[in-house]
């Protein structure tokens, strides 16, 4: 098991839990897509899974529910151990969160420089390979602010893949991109998956991308995840709220 959440409860205030008793498992090679209404905790769930947010306390004062990363409870093990575990994941944030005063090349090299003793020329060679893989050739010396949104997203993706992770978290990887760039992004994610069989947990409103990546969709409704379904199953779902979310997705895609 790569990551697992059991009975997770989270809210920005105790009385308003947006995630309430949520369970999730991601296994090696899985592609899981999280859909649902905006502002209902999908991105927060991703942050909870790597320990960037802390679940609400239970009645005893400890965190409610458990989050396991590579089999270890991240709220039980020391912080240093959590950082060790995070070396095995990649995370693409919705706003890309590239370090603004570093070039694209340095952004991609950062985790390798920090975590390995590899010589710098080898690190830069590896970073350049990711730059080529993600169609950023010629932009390696630019600062993130000088790139288009699509390029920034691909640079964030390259950084996430730099340490050859076993699991990648993608928070809205196509948000804000035009149709062509969305397609390029999904195609690159598909290629990376084909190359490395990395497991993917992706938050998106573009539920049809599940088709493309061969993944199954969990809808986040009422603070809990519905069982994983295919896109076709959701289109024909007897639950009107599920059909509504898929309809919204189709309208977003096709206007």
């Amino acid at each position: 098991m790569l990551t697992e959440a059991c009975g997770l409860r989270f809210g920005f205030q105790q009385e308003e839990a947006i995630l309430d008793g949520l369970d999730l498992e991601v296994r090696r090679g899985d592609v899981r897509i999280l859909g649902g209404e905006s502002g209902k905790g999908k991105s927060t769930l991703m942050r909870l899974l790597i320990g960037l947010e802390k679940p609400l306390p239970d009645e005893t004062g400890s965190v409610s529910g458990q989050v396991f990363l590579f089999g270890e409870d991240i709220w039980e093990v020391p912080r240093l151990r959590v950082r060790e575990l995070r070396k095995r994941i990649g995370f693409v944030f919705q706003n890309n969160a590239l370090v603004s005063n570093m070039s694209v090349l340095d952004n991609i090299a950062v985790p390798m420089r920090y975590h390995t003793d590899l010589p710098d020329d080898e690190i830069l060679r590896s970073a350049r390979r990711w730059i080529d893989n993600l169609l950023l050739t010629g932009h390696e010396d630019k600062r993130p602010a000088h790139l288009s949104l699509g390029m920034q997203r691909r640079a964030a993706m390259a950084r996430a893949m730099a340490m050859s992770p076993e699991l990648v978290f993608l928070d809205e990887p196509t948000a804000g991109l035009d149709a062509k760039n969305s397609e390029i992004m999904l195609s690159l994610i598909g290629n990376l998956r084909a190359l490395s069989n990395v497991a993917i947990l992706m938050v998106t409103h573009d539920l049809a991308s599940a088709h493309f990546l061969g993944g199954r969709i969990h809808l986040l409704l009422d603070g809990r995840l519905r069982p994983a379904r295919t896109y076709e199953d959701l289109v024909q779902s007897p639950d009107p709220r599920e059909r509504e979310l898929v309809r919204d997705d189709q309208e977003t895609r096709f206007g």
Partner: protein
């Protein structure tokens, strides 16, 4: 009865502990402990991890501030020397010019004025830089890669600012003592007889160097180092404590600068208590 008193004592200690935890010295102290521990947490820190930001910070703190420090120090040194050179003969103590210049410039003016410049330039820039990283999710991105922001950002920034502050304070001292003399000497030539500054440079230098003691050397390094450390820690602490909204960045910057000014003056008082008061009372030579 005994149990009740014990409970109250424990309660009072807990309350003091909580108060300390949330106070400015408590929070800065906690960050300092993290900074000191960070090179040894996990894989030992390498020069590659901290070198680049350390060099950038030292360059920004020390090298880029050289012109403003030299100009400011020369003017302040000149004014101070003219004042002392004018006043000391009136009280019949011209021989103490070297002592008072060392005391005023080296012990007080250089560390304080340099700290104010560093707090205004480096402290504000560092708080803004880290604050922007925080609100734009870059700190979270570092965390998501298993990178400790304290080791990666705060440690090299604190080291760079501390080293830069010591270098600048030494430069301020040299500029104030020498440049100040030149300014005052020039004025003495323009207005002959109006100023009591009638000595030549070799004699002046002899007076100043004769007034220097080991304690002055210690103060010359320890004070600016402590000020630089405090300024960098407060800047990083305020930057890291921001939330996710851009409007918090200027507030964090303002807090960092104001806290730095107050802390530097408070620490100056502590240094006086440690180094000067024992000398006055004869405890220390």
């Amino acid at each position: 009865m005994t149990f009740g008193i014990g409970k109250r004592i424990v309660g009072a200690i807990t309350w003091i502990g909580e108060l300390w935890e949330t106070s400015l010295p408590g929070r800065a102290g906690r960050l300092l402990v993290q900074v000191v521990a960070s090179p040894f947490a996990g894989r030992p820190a390498t020069a590659r991890q901290i070198g680049e930001i350390f060099l950038q910070q030292t360059y920004y703190t020390a090298v880029e501030a050289v012109p403003i420090i030299v100009i400011l120090a020369t003017l302040i040194g000149g004014v101070t020397l003219i004042e002392f050179a004018t006043v000391l003969p009136r009280v019949g103590n011209s021989d103490f010019l070297g002592d008072v210049m060392v005391l005023a410039v080296l012990r007080e003016l250089a560390p304080l004025f340099t700290a104010f410049i560093v707090a205004g330039r480096t402290g504000s820039a560092l708080a803004t830089f880290i604050g922007n990283m925080k609100v734009h999710g870059e700190i979270d991105a570092l965390e998501s890669m298993g990178i400790d922001p304290v080791r990666f950002l705060v440690l090299p920034a604190v080291l760079g600012c501390t080293v830069g502050m010591v270098c600048l304070s030494l430069l301020f001292t040299a500029s104030a003592l020498l440049g100040g003399f030149l300014v005052a000497h020039l004025l003495a030539h323009v207005f002959p007889g109006s100023l009591g500054l009638d000595m030549e440079l070799p004699l002046y230098l002899e007076k100043v160097s004769g007034a220097l003691r080991l304690m002055d050397g210690l103060i010359m390094v320890l004070k600016p180092a402590a000020f630089g450390l405090a300024i960098a820690l407060l800047a990083c602490m305020n930057g890291l404590s921001l939330g996710i909204s851009s409007h918090e960045v200027p507030q964090g910057t303002r807090a960092a600068v104001v806290q730095s000014f107050v802390s530097v003056v408070a620490m100056d008082g502590i240094f006086a208590a440690i180094f000067v008061i024992p000398q006055l009372t004869g405890v220390m030579p």
